[in-house]
Amino acid sequence: MSEPQPKAAPPRLSDAGRAELDTLRSRYPTTEAVLIPALHIAQREWGGWLPDEAIEAVAAELDLPPAKVYGVVTFYDLFHQHPVGRHRIRVCTNLSCQLRGADEIVELLHQELGVGEDEVTPDGRCSYVHFECLGSCDTAPMMMVDDDYHENLTPQRVRRVLKELK
């Protein structure tokens, strides 16, 4: 991972993150069970993705081999191994959305943002990817921006959403 960090990242989870993790630990009979929650926390703290040092920090925190943690990171679509934009856009392109114009939404994002899928806009604001079904087929086409669903998309609506992203 050669990309520079957005900020000088701590070599381990923040105190707040570790406190959050400690609360979670009590809920499970094994330490390993908090790995995925821990990675969510780490990804939040490392600016939306998980560089090697974040993986090592989590591995050290939970006393797991880093190779195992890396295996988990690469298994799940919500964990990123490359830098992402400040805002992450996921467009559902699975069948129900495809049947209502999702591919046009992806094309539109490409045109509006001027970058390809999984690339970060030069200002660091956005990155977008096509995604598998997000469980909002009744409001197709749809996309997820960070944690929020934007549904019944039209080109106008997409442009409006993009405009509001800082």
Binding site: L78, L95, R100
Partner: protein, 432 residues
């Protein structure tokens, strides 16, 4: 007639006051749990068995029977894991239940835990459902506050912890043992079975895994009785209310609660008919893994057994409707891409088979297909189906095999014309 059906599971949808504990209680909420705590656990299991409730996640296994497999006695911890990893393309019913009526799910989980003797319940929710997770977390906090969860459930000696566990984006974690692996902090790779989770599940302990919708039915079965539940539906084996999530080329896509076994035609009418008055070409009755049905199956009752008899399945009852302007090859290629993307990669037939199927379908759609490809696809399907470690392999075969069997002329046309015969379709005129 469908319109006359009074909703059970979705009665609080559109009533935001039910999101809060007080609002939920005003509508009779947690009465089922209170009643259940006064019953013997076995009585509850018997009632759920008698109701004929079958799993709403896809496999359609008897919920009561599943609960009865959990060993009795308190020597070992037991778990309930609620499967809220709704990821089957076309499915969005559980999200509705969680976002609009979280306490109904909590109540269902609590009753199940009491019935099987579990002291801990994890609600494994897919990572993308951030809003639903947040709503559930808030509802759980309320329930703890009100003494519904914690050391003494509703003042009884029953102690119960319930937590939301967020996934991180992997369809395979909806497979029950993949989910357990993921819950334990591992890659969500399904386990070999046996042993089944009822004996060796989460953290090596006996575990019940039920879908959100399945568990949401439980409070109603306890309060209203198994006979009431059985009075809804097609027959003894297909009972109760059912959420149908319909999407694609219909006018009013959405989740509709109807008696199980409603004919497809009525469901389509309920959803406002075909999109822009198009003609029905095909529909997928139970999520992406269900074999595709055609217009000739329009009167089929949408229940477990009728659909199985027609060579498809009810699955998650996620109905995707396709009109006659739609290219079936392109549609199935998209599903094949999905299954290839979501295959966990551990077992040979699924890892390699889903990949090969995607490559072949993609080539066909782009006009580079060969005459042998249809037969080859069937042969791959045969080698994957039944041979993979978990059901994902079979799921991936569903749409592909039905494409070859039910739309052979469309494949031939792609090969003959060396291009997709359907003109690119634009849904937005002012798009890119």
């Amino acid at each position: 007639m469908a319109a006359a059906f009074e909703p059970v599971l979705t009665k609080n949808v559109g009533h935001p006051e039910a999101l809060a504990l007080q609002g939920y209680k005003r509508g009779g909420g947690y009465e089922g749990l209170r009643k259940a705590l006064g019953m013997q656990p076995d009585e509850i299991i018997e009632a759920v068995k008698a109701s004929g409730l079958r799993g709403r996640g896809g496999a359609g296994f008897s919920a009561g029977l599943k609960w009865s497999f959990i060993p009795k006695g308190n020597d070992k911890p037991k778990y309930l894991v609620c499967n809220a990893d709704e990821s089957e393309p076309g499915t969005f019913k559980d999200r509705l239940l969680m976002e609009h009526d979280p306490h109904q799910l909590i109540e269902g989980c609590a009753i199940c835990c009491w019935a099987v003797g579990a002291a801990t319940c994890y609600i494994y929710i897919r990572g993308e459902y951030t809003k639903a997770a947040w709503i559930l977390e808030r509802a759980l906090a309320e329930a703890y506050e009100a003494g519904i969860l914690g050391r003494s459930v509703l003042g009884s000696k029953f102690a119960l912890d319930m937590w939301v566990h967020r996934g991180a984006g992997a369809y395979i974690c909806g497979e029950e043992t993949g989910m357990l692996e993921s819950l334990e902090g591992k890659r969500g790779q399904p386990r070999v079975k046996p042993p089944f989770p009822a004996l060796v599940g989460a953290f090596g302990a006996p575990t019940v895994i039920n879908n959100v919708e399945t568990l949401c039915n439980v409070p109603h079965i306890v309060t209203r009785g198994a006979d009431w539940f059985k009075s809804i539906g097609t027959n003894e084996k297909n009972t109760g209310p059912k959420l149908y999530a319909i999407s694609g080329h219909v006018e009013r896509p959405g989740t509709y609660e109807l008696p199980i076994g409603i004919p497809f035609r009525e469901l389509l009418e309920t959803a406002g008919g075909m999109y822009r008055r198009g003609n029905l070409k095909a529909y997928i009755p139970g999520g992406a893994s269900a074999p595709i049905l055609t217009a000739e199956h329009v009167d089929l009752p949408m229940d477990f057994d009728s659909l199985a008899k027609a060579g498809s399945m009810l699955g998650s009852a996620a109905v995707i409707v396709l009109d006659d302007q739609t290219c079936m090859v392109r549609s199935v290629a998209r599903l094949a891409k999905f299954f290839n993307h979501e295959s966990c990669g551990q077992c040979t037939p699924c890892r390699e088979g889903t990949n090969w199927m995607e490559l072949l379908l993609d080539r066909l759609e782009h006009g580079q297909g060969r005459e042998v490809d249809a037969a080859l696809l069937l042969s791959i399907c045969k080698n994957v189906a039944g041979n993979s470690l978990c059901a994902l392999g079979d799921a991936a075969v569903g749409p592909v095999k039905s494409l070859v069997e039910r739309f052979p002329e469309e494949i031939e046309q792609h090969v003959r014309e060396r291009a997709c015969p359907f003109p690119p379709r634009r849904y937005f005129h002012d798009a890119a």
